[in-house]
Amino acid sequence: MSLLTRNDIRGLMAEVVAAQGKRLPDDDGALLRDIGFRSLDFSELALRVEDDIGHELNFDAPGLRQIASVGDVLEFLDSLQRM
C-alpha cells in the first residue's frame, strides 16, 4: 500500500476527534491540550495510519521530541511511516 499524505493523516485525525463530538481545528498550530487530544487518541490515530499503509509503525526510533500541536503529530506520523 502507498504512503499517506499529510492531508490524509489530517483526515484520519479529524475522524478520531469527530468520534468524540469535536472538530479538528484547521490551524496546525492548535495545541493538543486545547483540543483534548490525549495519548489514547494518538494510539487510535496510529492504528488508523497502520491500517491504511498496511504495516506497523516503528515507535522505538531514538530521539527526544516535544509533541504539543496538531502539526507536531502530523509531522511525526508522516516521518514514522517513511522509516
Partner: protein
C-alpha cells in the same frame, strides 16, 4: 488509630490541587471542606472521592479515627455497587454529603479496603491495613514524589504509605486530567522521584522528551505492566545516575518483586528461595505463583497471579496474562466481557466480539467486531460506549462484519 501528626512522615509536604500542606496540618483539619465534614467520620466509611484532595482528607480521617475505610474514586462505584456497600454496612461519604448504610454493623478496626478489577470487570473488594500496605522499610533518601495514580489504587497507597512511614517523602499529586502534562508539573514542583507504568514513561518520552530529560530525577519506578528492556535502556540513557526500579505488585499479593539492576525481568535465582520478610516466588505451568508477606487479608499460601512467565537465560520475564478477558490498556484493565455487554445493549447491535489490539504508546487498545441489525456508524457506537465505559475501555476501532463468524467448533468467535 494513629493521628497523622504522630507518624514519622507527619512533616512531609503534600502538593494537592496546587496547595502545599503537611500530613500534620491535614490531620489538624486544614483542607477538610473539600470532601465534606470529616471531623467525625462514620465508623465504617466508603469514601467515594472526586480527586486527590478528597482522597488525602479521607486518609487523614482514617488515621484520626475512621475505624474501617474504603477509598475509591466515585467513578468506579456504580449505583448497584453503592447499594451493595450500604447493605454491607458502609456509609457512603461523597463530596456532596454522607449517605448512611442500610445495615449497620460494628467496624473492623484498622481495616482498609481497596477496589481492584475483578475477573469479570466488576470491581471487587480486597482487605488490607496500613501495615500491609507499608512495604518500604529501612532509611530512605529524601525524595519529592510525583503520584499519578488513581486515588485508592494499590500503587497510590504505596506512595501514601511511603510518605506516612518515612520522613523526607513529599508527594506531588497529579489529577487524571493533567496526566499528559505531568513533566511540566514535575519540573515546576522540583519532583525528584516518579512512579508510573512503562506506558506512562513511553508516553512522556514521546510527548515531552526534552522536558522529561530536564527533570532532576534520582528515582524512576515502573510497575503495573510487564517492563521491556527498550524502555529501561531509554530511561537509563537519560538518567544514568538515577536508580531505576521495576516493581511487581498486585492488590492481592502486594508489592512482592523489586528489581533495580536495569534489566528486564527478575533473576532466576529468586525462584523457590526462602528469605525472611520477602515473598516466595515459584513458576508452575508457566504461571507465576507468589506467597507474600504483604498480601491482602485472607491471601495465605501461594497465590496464583494469572501472569504468564518465560525463563530466558538467567532471567524470569512476565510475558502476558493467562486465559482472561482482561485487556491491559497502558496499565488500566478493561474487561472484554464488560465492553461486549455494553455493545450488545445497543439496540442496533446483533453480535459483538471484543479483544485487545497491539498499539503504540499504550501497549494495547480495545477493538471490536460487530454485526448490526440496522445501519449505525462507528462514531455512533463509539459515543454509545464512551457514555457507559471509562475512556480506556472504549473500543478504538469498530469493524462491521456482514455475518456472525462461526468457528469449526460451531461456536462464535468471542
Amino acid at each position: 488509630m494513629t493521628a497523622a501528626s504522630a507518624l514519622p512522615g507527619a512533616g512531609n509536604t503534600l502538593v494537592v490541587a496546587g496547595r502545599h500542606l503537611t500530613w500534620s496540618e491535614l490531620s489538624g483539619g486544614r483542607g477538610e471542606t473539600e470532601a465534606g465534614n470529616l471531623a467525625d467520620p462514620p465508623p465504617v466509611a466508603a469514601h467515594l472521592v472526586a480527586d486527590n484532595c478528597g482522597a488525602v482528607v479521607a486518609v487523614a480521617a482514617h488515621l484520626r479515627g475512621g475505624a474501617e475505610t474504603l477509598l475509591a474514586t466515585a467513578a468506579r462505584v456504580d449505583e448497584a455497587m453503592a447499594a451493595e456497600l450500604r447493605r454491607d454496612g458502609f456509609a457512603l461519604v461523597r463530596p456532596g454529603g454522607t449517605v448512611p448504610p442500610t445495615v449497620t454493623r460494628p467496624p473492623e478496626p484498622g481495616r482498609l479496603w481497596l477496589l481492584t478489577s475483578g475477573s469479570t470487570g466488576r470491581p471487587k473488594r480486597v482487605a488490607h491495613s496500613l501495615a500491609s500496605l507499608t512495604t518500604v522499610t529501612g532509611k530512605q533518601p529524601a525524595r519529592r514524589w510525583l503520584c499519578p495514580y488513581s486515588p485508592g489504587a494499590y500503587a497510590w497507597w504505596q506512595v501514601i504509605t511511603l510518605s506516612l512511614a518515612h520522613p523526607g517523602q513529599d508527594i506531588v499529586f497529579l489529577e487524571p486530567g493533567d496526566l499528559d502534562d505531568w513533566p511540566d508539573v514535575a519540573l515546576a514542583e522540583g519532583v525528584s522521584a516518579v512512579s508510573g507504568t512503562p506506558t506512562f514513561w513511553r508516553q512522556a518520552l514521546w510527548r515531552a522528551g526534552p522536558t522529561v530529560a530536564a527533570l532532576p530525577l534520582a528515582q524512576l519506578t515502573l510497575g503495573g505492566e510487564p517492563v521491556d528492556q527498550a524502555i529501561l535502556d531509554r530511561l537509563g540513557e537519560l538518567f544514568p545516575r538515577a536508580r531505576i526500579s521495576w516493581i511487581y505488585a498486585s492488590s492481592e499479593a502486594g508489592a512482592t518483586i523489586a528489581v533495580h539492576d536495569g534489566r528486564a525481568g527478575f533473576p532466576v535465582g529468586w525462584l523457590d528461595r526462602d528469605v525472611p520478610g520477602r515473598a516466595r516466588l515459584r513458576v508452575a505451568d508457566g504461571e507465576l505463583l507468589i506467597e507474600s508477606p504483604w498480601g491482602a487479608s485472607g491471601m495465605t499460601g501461594l497465590i496464583r497471579t494469572g501472569d504468564q512467565v518465560e525463563i530466558v537465560g538467567d532471567r524470569v520475564h512476565i510475558v502476558g496474562r493467562q486465559a482472561t478477558d482482561e485487556i491491559n490498556v497502558g496499565g488500566s484493565k478493561a474487561s472484554a466481557a464488560a465492553v461486549r455487554a455494553v455493545l450488545l445493549d445497543h439496540p442496533d447491535v446483533a453480535w459483538a466480539a471484543v479483544r485487545g489490539r497491539r498499539a503504540p504508546l499504550v501497549g494495547q487498545v480495545v477493538v471490536a467486531d460487530v454485526v448490526l441489525r440496522a445501519p449505525v456508524g462507528e462514531a455512533a457506537l463509539t459515543r454509545w460506549c464512551a457514555q457507559r465505559l471509562p475512556d480506556y475501555a472504549v473500543p478504538r476501532r469498530v469493524r462491521v462484519l456482514d455475518s456472525i463468524p462461526i468457528k469449526e467448533t460451531l461456536k462464535s468467535d468471542v
